[in-house]
Symmetry: C2
Subunit: 393 residues, 2 copies
C-alpha cells in the first residue's frame, strides 16, 4: 500500500487510469457485443435450414457491407487471412515474387504472402500512423530496386517485388497518398490490409477502398464479428467476380455439372456466420461512436500520466479506435513488460504489439529494410481494454 | 400422359419411384435437419460472447466427435478442404511430390494436394465400393514405380509419390485392408478423405481411423453440419497437437507474447459453428438410422425398375448412406442426362457424379493410370434426394 503523499509508480498510475475508465476488472482486451438482431437472424437462418454455402444472409451481408463502406463490391470470406491470400493472388503475386509488408503487423499478412509461394519483404513504420512510412520506403526502393520491363526488381535478390500491402494498425489509417504514389512510381500493386480498420477513414474515404483491393476481418476480437470471417473490398467488378469464383471452388454455373475451371478454394463465409454479421453491421455506427467515446475517456484519464501517450487518429483521418494504444516514452521501453504484468495482474487484459515479423523463425531470412521505428514502436506500445461496451461502464 | 397399359418409360419409372418414397417435390438433394439443441447452444454461445476462436463448444465438439468415432483425437477446422490440406502437410507431402487420389472424387481432394505444391496422380475406382481399386493400384505401382531410399518414385516423372488418399464416396467405405497393404508395401502415407463418411464403418471400425489421419467435412450438404466445418481424426497425439498448432496460426503459448514458430493457418472452427455441431452430433445416431431406412424404402421402390440399381453398402461394411446412388446399366449410360433432366424437372434434385478430376482444366496434365471403371461409374451414376428427414415423409 502507498503511504499518504507517496507518489504512485508508473504501473500504479496506468492501472489507476484504466480502472477510472473501465471500472474494476477483469476486463478483456476486446469483446464483441450482441445487442441487436443477432438472435433473430441466427434463428431465421436455422429455420430456413440454409446455414452453409447457400443463403440470403451472405448476399445481404456483402451488399450492406459494401454500402456502409462505399465500395462497389464486397466478397465475404471465411476469415481475413483467406481474403488476403486471394487478394494477393488476384493482384498477380506469384511464386518467387516479393511482397512489401510492414514488419509491424499481425502474422496473417506475412502468412498470406507465403501461401502464394512468395517472400515477404519487411518495411518500416512511422510513429504518426503506426503504419508503413511512405517516404522511407520510397528512398529504400530508389536505392535498392530497378525497373525491368515495368517490373520492380530487388537488386539484391533478383526477384520481382510485385505488391505493397500496408496495414492500418489498430484501426489508424496509413499515409495512403504517400503509399499510392510509391506504388504507382515503382509499379507495385497496392492491396490494403484493412483487417483492423472497418469504420476508419482517410481524408473522408473508407480505408480498404484506395488500393486495387482491400481486405477486412470479422474475427471475434474485431469491431464487428461473424465468429470467423473476412471480406475483399474492390471497386473492380471483374476482380470481385473472380474473388467470388476462386473462393467457391471455382465451379462454373450449370444445372447439375460439377466443372471447376481453375484451382479454387473453400473460402466462402457460411450463411450462419453472415447472419451474425448482418446483425452486427446494423450496430456498427453505434459501436464506432462508443469506441470514440472510450478514446476520449481514456485521454482524460491518461492526461496526468507523464511518460505515456494515448495514440490518437492521424490528421485528416478518422480512426475506428479498434484497439486503444498506449505509447511509452522511448526511455521507458524497459518498463513495457512491467506495465504488461501490472495491468494483467490487476485484471485488465493488455497486450504488447506483435513480435516484429523478421524476428519470427519462419521469416527470419526474409529481405528487409532498416526497421528502427518499427522496433521502437514495438518496444513502447501497449494495447489496453477497448471493447465498445466499455464506453458506458 | 400415358395411355392405360402403355409401359412407363425409364425416366417416368425413376420419377415415380422417387416420388413413391419422398412424396411430391420440390425435394432437395440433401438438406440438414435442426431438431435438437441447435437453438439452445447458439443462444448460449451468443450469451457468452465467445463466438470466435475461443470457447467451450470447440473443445466439446472435438471431444464428442472423437468419442463417437472412436478416434483418440479430433481437431476441428473451418472446413474439410482445410483439414485435408493440413493432413497432407503433416503426412509429409512437399513441393514436387505426387499424391495418389481417385479420379472419381470432389475437387477438394485434388485442390488440397495442389495447396502443398504437389501434383495429384489419379487412380481408378472399383464398382463394388465406388472407391480406389486396391488390386489395380498395386499392379500399376508395381509396373510404374520403384523404391529409392524407401521412397516410392514414379519412373515416368522421377517424382516421389508421397501419399495415398482414398475417399469414401457418398459414404461407402473403400477397401481399407487392400489399400493399407498397398500403402505399407510401397511406402506411402495413407490419409483417408472421410468427408462423406461420418457414421460409416469398415469391419466394425469407423472410417477415417485407419490411415495416419482421416478428414471429415461438416458442410451444409453433409450428414451433420456446422455451417462450414471439418476435422482431422488421428490416434497420434503428436499429429493432433501439430494439427491444432498449424491451424491456429502456429502461435506459441504465452501470457501476452505473439510468437509464431512456423507458417501457420487460420483454419480453426469458430465456436459459433462448433455450437451448431454439438447439437447436430447429438442427433447423429437418429440421422444415420433415418438414412438407412430411406435406403430401404428406395430399395423397395426401385426393385421393379429394371436397368437401375441402388448402391448398397459393401460387404462387412456399414455405410452412412450420405447420398443415395442409382447406378444405370452400362448400356444406358447415354440416358443419364435424360434422367437427370426428367427428375430435376419433376422437382426432385438429382446430381451426376463429379466430372472426373483429369477432365478438369487445372488437372488435365496430371499423371494418371487407366481410369476405365471411374469413367463408367461417372457415366452411370445419379444421386437422388437423400436427406435424413425424407425417411419419415
Amino acid at each position: 500500500m502507498n503511504a499518504v503523499n507517496t507518489p504512485l509508480s508508473l504501473p500504479e498510475q496506468v492501472v489507476a487510469a484504466i480502472r477510472a475508465v473501465v471500472g474494476a476488472g477483469p476486463v478483456a482486451l476486446h469483446e464483441p457485443s450482441f445487442n441487436g438482431n443477432e438472435w433473430l437472424y441466427l434463428k431465421e437462418c436455422l429455420d430456413s435450414t440454409f446455414v452453409s454455402s447457400v443463403g440470403k444472409f451472405v448476399d445481404r451481408f456483402e451488399a450492406e457491407l459494401a454500402a456502409f463502406i462505399g465500395a462497389k463490391h464486397a466478397v465475404a470470406m471465411v476469415n481475413g487471412t483467406a481474403a488476403l491470400h486471394i487478394a494477393l493472388k488476384l493482384a498477380g503475386v506469384k511464386a518467387d515474387d516479393e511482397v512489401l509488408i510492414p514488419a509491424l503487423t499481425f502474422v496473417a499478412t506475412a502468412n498470406a504472402v507465403s501461401y502464394c509461394n512468395a517472400t515477404p519483404h519487411f518495411v518500416d513504420s512511422e510513429a504518426r500512423t503506426l503504419g508503413v512510412d511512405a517516404a522511407k520506403l520510397r528512398d529504400y526502393l530508389t536505392r535498392h530496386t530497378e525497373q525491368r520491363a515495368s517490373q520492380c526488381v530487388n537488386r539484391a535478390t533478383g526477384r520481382v517485388i510485385r505488391a505493397l500491402v500496408p496495414m492500418h494498425a489498430f484501426g489508424h489509417p496509413v499515409d495512403l497518398d504517400g503509399l499510392l504514389a510509391v506504388a504507382h512510381d515503382f509499379n507495385l500493386a497496392l492491396v490494403e490490409d484493412a483487417a483492423e480498420s472497418l469504420g476508419s477513414y482517410y481524408h473522408g474515404r473508407h480505408t480498404g477502398t484506395f488500393g486495387l483491393m482491400g481486405t477486412l476481418s470479422f474475427n471475434g476480437n474485431k469491431t464487428i464479428t461473424t465468429g470467423g470471417g473476412g471480406a475483399i473490398l474492390t471497386n473492380d467488378a471483374e476482380l470481385a467476380r473472380h474473388a467470388k469464383h476462386l473462393t467457391t471452388t471455382a465451379k462454373l454455373p450449370h444445372a447439375w455439372e460439377y466443372r471447376h475451371d481453375e484451382i479454387g478454394y473453400n473460402y466462402r463465409m457460411p450463411n450462419l456466420n453472415a447472419a451474425l454479421g448482418c446483425a452486427q453491421l446494423e450496430q456498427l455506427p453505434a459501436m464506432l461512436a462508443a469506441k470514440r467515446e472510450l478514446f476520449q475517456r481514456y485521454q482524460t484519464a491518461f492526461t496526468p500520466v507523464a511518460d505515456v501517450k494515448l495514440m490518437a487518429e492521424p490528421e485528416q483521418c478518422q480512426s475506428n479506435y479498434w484497439l486503444q494504444t498506449l505509447l511509452l516514452d522511448v526511455e521507458l521501453a524497459d518498463q513495457r513488460d512491467v506495465l504488461l504484468k501490472a495491468t494483467n495482474d490487476a485484471g485488465f487484459m493488455t497486450r504488447p504489439a506483435w513480435i516484429l515479423m523478421h524476428e519470427l523463425t519462419p521469416f527470419k531470412d526474409c529481405p528487409r529494410m532498416d526497421l528502427t521505428v518499427a522496433q521502437l514502436l514495438s518496444q513502447c506500445l501497449i494495447n489496453i481494454p477497448s471493447s465498445a461496451s466499455l464506453a458506458h461502464t
